[in-house]
Amino acid sequence: MPVSGYGIHSCTPQYVTMTEDNPYCTDTRPVRHKDIKPQNILIEAQESGTNILFTDFGIAVDFGDKTESSKGTNLPRTERYCAPEVANGGHRDTRSDFWSLGCVFLEIMTVLKGRSLDRLGEHNGNDHIYYVSTPQMMSWLKQLEDTQDAIASLVIPLISSMVSKKAKTRPRSQEGFNTLFGNTIKELELRTQLFCQSCIDDPQPDVKVLEEEPVIEEPTVATIQSKDVGGVQATLLHDSALVITVRDLETPVKEEEQDFSVSTSEPAMPSVDAERPRHSSFSLDPISSNRIQTYIVADAIPEMRDER
């Protein structure tokens, strides 16, 4: 469906759809990409239309692993689209991804309004690194404003909030995004132009907001996601005890047979006192009849290493 004034039509909806459908924001799909850039967004032309696809999850963060450092800086990432707090080695969370996505939206809007990315680069006056030129980005967005263009009038303020230097003003979840943008569009016609049909049919209104990633300095409770192994769950507590809960009541797992597969990300390990005696206790939970076993972390660490 052509949108007047663009000369390009349904691609805006397709791209904006990315966030409406953003997987990083739902509790069922807790992964943060960490390297959102146009090179990692693919376009697939199908008979039914165009689909966009995120790719390259090589440095993504799995939110299931709460112990992942939110300050690690040794990973390769793209300077150009990275958020200011990421570049400065500060606290980062889903809002850092929204910054990168905002930069991508900015480029899309630039091209949609008939400007080239080279002109955007000249305007920003630097080596194409966005986080050092937020004032220029704002003034560029002002230049792109067009009161005759209903979609641009909606999307440009959204981009402004996404590329805000202060992470607090950015959306950090699909819910936040909807509050900021999606829910304000009442006109069905505009909605169908901006979002793909599946997003309209299934807006996922009850998505929970992810907790912020904990900072490594204050490790509290680390949940180690057990791989699909018959209801065995392992929890690493900050008081240095690994609690393994066996849920399967039909066939209780014997102590020595317990096979807990630990996810492979490096958990933040408290330092272990080598002098501490190895100790494990075994008890029956009186309420659920689940068997609960407590290991001292000193016992668990070698086993976790073996799993890796």
């Binding site: 349904s10 691609c11 966009i52 696809l53 995120f54 999850f57 799995d62």
Partner: protein, 161 residues
């Protein structure tokens, strides 16, 4: 070699030496037998040993990332074209490649089936490399699209716009 069936393969070098004798024949048979023992790649995670053949036919390179090459390949058993992301295993310890591979595999498994995420078909490991199979082979990247938005020769431009 009578009585040997496909499911007996692969035969070890020692067995082949006894049966065939001639070292050249042994070498030829040893290498060729893996053609008959192709393992389906679209399994969650498969390990291949050094002599086994990865059942793909490379069509062309699609690009290179910091840790991996991406190729357009045909899955020989399925006759289907997919993207193949290949990480060479580094000889130096502490390289980020293995981590990157594991991160990507874990994330894609978890995200599986999302409309706007590439589909994870399977992964494998050989003594020299890791690989992830992804679908679809995209028409083009958004970056190319943004840079050349007035290039009318871009494939499927009409479909995208």
């Amino acid at each position: 070699m009578s009585g040997v069936k496909d499911h007996d393969l692969p035969l070890s070098v020692n067995v082949l030496r006894k049966v065939l004798g001639n070292p050249r024949d042994v070498k030829q048979f040893f290498e060729a037998q893996y053609m008959a023992t192709l393992k389906d790649l679209t399994a969650d995670f498969r390990k291949y040993d050094a002599h086994e053949l990865i059942p793909t036919r490379t069509i062309r390179s699609l690009g290179q990332g910091s840790y991996a090459h991406v190729y357009r390949v045909e899955l020989v058993l399925q006759k289907r074209e997919v993207a193949h992301k290949m990480f060479m295993r580094s000889t130096t310890a502490g390289s980020g490649r293995e981590d990157s591979f594991n991160t990507e595999m874990r994330s894609l498994r978890k995200l599986g089936g999302h409309r706007h995420i590439v589909e994870y078909l399977g992964a494998y490991q050989t003594p020299r490399s890791f690989g992830i199979l992804l679908s679809p082979v995209a028409t083009c990247g958004l970056s190319m699209f943004l840079r050349h938005s007035d290039d009318h020769d871009l494939p499927d431009r009409q479909g995208i716009l």
